[in-house]
């Protein structure tokens, strides 16, 4: 499958002042490629929640975006503590974010479920040994 676009974006854990920057860059890149508004928005939401997860839970991580002829792929890898119970974490309302972040309106426990709802396929590879890998695919043929 030919790749139309590929780029990796590093995200620094704990740096809330830069939060959202990568998501905006990804959205602009998709816009330049002529990806539809609906797909741009879904990809931007998935990217934003992934970015926030790294900032809130990990020391560092990377979003890698690859656009093929029929899909936007976002791979998210972080050096965080890992997710012991993925099934529980993906349930809406479950959060392990610190109190200070929750007061800022982060850590609503909706991040992973928001990503799942924006994706056509979504896989979480993680465990309590540390590190999380999100595999997000959004088909560009409108659903």
């Amino acid at each position: 499958m030919p790749v139309r676009f590929e780029n990796s974006y590093p995200v620094e854990g704990g740096n809330f002042s830069e939060a959202g920057k990568v998501s905006v860059e990804i959205k602009n890149a998709l816009k330049k490629l002529g990806i539809s508004n609906n797909i741009q928005r879904r990809a931007a939401i998935a990217a934003y929640e992934s970015e926030m997860n790294i900032i809130a839970h990990a020391t560092r991580g990377t979003l890698t975006v690859r656009v093929t002829l029929d899909a936007v792929h976002i791979d998210v890898k972080d050096a965080g503590p890992g997710i012991g119970d993925v099934g529980l974490a993906i349930k809406e309302g479950c959060s392990t974010a610190a109190d200070q972040f929750q007061r800022m309106g982060f850590g609503a426990g909706m991040g992973l479920s928001n990503i799942r709802d924006c994706s056509d396929t979504f896989e979480v590879v993680s465990g309590s040994h540390g590190g999380t890998h999100l595999k997000i695919v959004i088909n560009t043929n409108e659903r």
């Binding site: 002042s17 998501s23 905006v24 959205k27 939401i45 982060f106």
Partner: protein, 111 residues
């Protein structure tokens, strides 16, 4: 309805984005949980919140909101204003609660 009309009718205080007030508002959303707003608000909404920190700007930019109203007299932080100015998103302040300002906007939009 243009944001300028909301500003005029509801005495909203303009913190930035004065040159963007001719933008049309097609709906609204009230929320302080960023993931909720990201998931459930729509483009061209006016977003009503009491979060005043800089991260609201990324949410409003990604969701293409027409503007943000800070309720209960919440003053946006300086870096929030700087970012919103850069993104071209109007930041407006009201002393009313989220409930009261939503009700008033809803009535205006119905007319």
């Amino acid at each position: 309805m243009k944001i300028a009309l909301l500003v005029e009718k509801l005495n909203l205080r303009i913190k930035c984005g004065e040159d963007k007030l001719d933008r049309e508002v097609y709906g609204g959303y009230v929320g302080d949980l960023l993931s909720d707003v990201i998931a459930n608000s729509a483009p061209d909404d006016i977003w009503i919140t009491r979060q005043a920190h800089q991260n609201i700007v990324a949410v409003a930019a990604l969701k293409e909101h027409a503007g943000v109203i800070l309720a209960l007299g919440q003053e946006p932080e300086d870096d929030t204003i700087a970012k919103a100015t850069k993104e071209g998103i109007p930041l407006l302040v009201t002393d009313l609660s989220g409930f009261e300002i939503s009700g008033k906007i809803y009535e205006l939009m119905k007319e």
